[in-house]
Symmetry: C2
Subunit: 291 residues, 2 copies
């Protein structure tokens, strides 16, 4: 996983070439957040899904970088004063704290747009069929767009007025976080020319670990400690945000994470996916993380 | 032109289907700005370029809508308090004035992402070859991204500290406005399977009218009147923004618009483009507009 992490960092570093004549503030702001660390879970999932199907890591890398660009843009915009108004992210000052709000908005816009460029690279350089690449573009626009991540974020903002039931919270989790995870798995599969059945297995895997991941976040936020998380804990409680444990309790939430993780593992280990080992490892890793 | 305008409005209206289960604030905010009027110049250019090559209007329409979504997102984000802080746009309150900053940011993000979906539709529904559609996706990501429109916008923000020469101003004009116009023409050409030579002609046409359009804007801002423009005139002067007339004077600016318009017309009327009439009309229209 560390090896893939290094590859992704390299890819992200090179994704905005030094010879581009663009305003320095924009370049620095995009670089700052792209290379601010993070677990690189989504790129890892793209590559793991491609490799689970016998696909090439090289061809998966530009798509892995694209999904991290989208994730990074969403964090930059989420942190803005008009949204969550966060001063720190991954232990560092947030983008707008360093570069100002205007540049942070533009850095986010730039990363989102550039992500689509990165995907087309996979097709051009590594001979992923145009039809598959186009399907990846379409799915990114759906899973990251109004019906997907942006919709989840909007629901989250609306929810600050008060989330009344678990369904509403689930909608937020599924779209705000889960959709980009599902995208990552399906895109990895598509790079390796996955069949419809295989794409469905990867989708179930992604949907399940995506929700498990988010419930786990809710749990960690309750029981984690400030140092390990690198951000203020119980911030959700302080902000009056309701979470999974709020609705169904801590034990039930843990049981739900276990149930979803089992579901995820079953989806990819029934024989449909040729080499599911790395995917299973990641599911295990996400379940057992303490930060 | 009115007929195409209606088609585009219809396409934009339907681009966010009523059966999508998305937060109502997001839907309303996207609709509000998409359907707030405007000249629809970019969609018109996509369709005119496609038709100048004998391409189908139906296949061009989703791409025309996509480019208007990108244009609209850029206006929503430009108007934000952290950017130009505008209260009115096309005579109506700006998006963030109606829906709040958070929703306006998300509406912009949603429209930008959804634009890429709209492009993939052209391929799926109207059998535009996947390779051409992928090239359109790639070019949108370049012309609207960090090297293109977003870069131009960032340069414009940096320029508020003071633009020192015409080259810097030209960079802003070319990227902030011109790039999306060039994209519109090339995308229209690609829908009709334009050759490299034809794409170059459309690019020259787009580059020239794009810059002419912007210089004309600078001129109109100096001599226009408040009612016709529907926004505060001389706002650029009031904001200490330097414009073309500032550097080379009003007469020279007008001469430059004429020169660029001539260049644009020549590029498409030499026989390379089968039916350039509509394109020539548009160039004429842009040159002679008074708002």
């Amino acid at each position: 996983m560390n090896e893939i992490g290094s590859l992704v960092n390299q890819g992200l570093e090179q994704s905005i070439p030094g010879d581009w004549s663009i305003p320095s503030s924009l370049r620095e702001a995009m670089h700052y957040s792209l290379l601010a660390g993070g677990k690189r879970i989504r790129p890892l999932l793209v590559i793991a899904a491609a490799e689970s199907m016998g696909g090439s890591r090289e061809a998966a890398l530009p798509v892995a970088c694209a999904v991290e660009m989208v994730h990074t843009y969403s964090l930059i915009h989420d942190d803005l004063p008009a949204m969550d108004n966060d001063d720190f992210r991954r232990g560092k000052p947030t983008n707008h704290k360093v570069f100002g709000e205007a540049t942070a908005i533009l850095a986010g816009d730039g990363l989102l747009t550039h992500a689509f460029y990165s995907i087309t690279e996979a097709s051009r350089k590594f001979h992923v069929p145009a039809e598959q690449t186009l399907a990846i573009v379409e799915e990114l626009s759906v899973y990251a767009g109004p019906k997907g991540m942006v919709g989840g974020q909007a629901a989250d903002m609306e929810g600050e007025q008060g989330i009344t039931d678990l369904e509403q919270l689930k909608y937020i989790h599924i779209h705000k976080t889960g959709d980009l995870i599902v995208f990552s798995l399906k895109a990895g599969g598509r790079i390796a020319s996955a069949s419809q059945e295989q794409l469905r297995a990867l989708e179930t895997f992604g949907r399940s670990i995506g929700l498990a991941f988010q419930i786990q976040d809710d749990i960690l936020d309750l029981i984690g400690n400030e140092q390990k998380l690198g951000k203020k804990t119980q911030s959700d409680v302080a902000m009056n945000k309701v979470t999974y444990p709020y609705f169904i309790g801590l034990d039930e939430s843990k049981a739900e994470v276990d149930r979803l993780t089992k579901l995820a593992k079953e989806a990819v280990s029934g024989g449909v996916i040729p080499n599911p080992e790395r995917l299973l490892q990641i599911a295990e890793f996400l379940l057992n993380r303490d930060h």
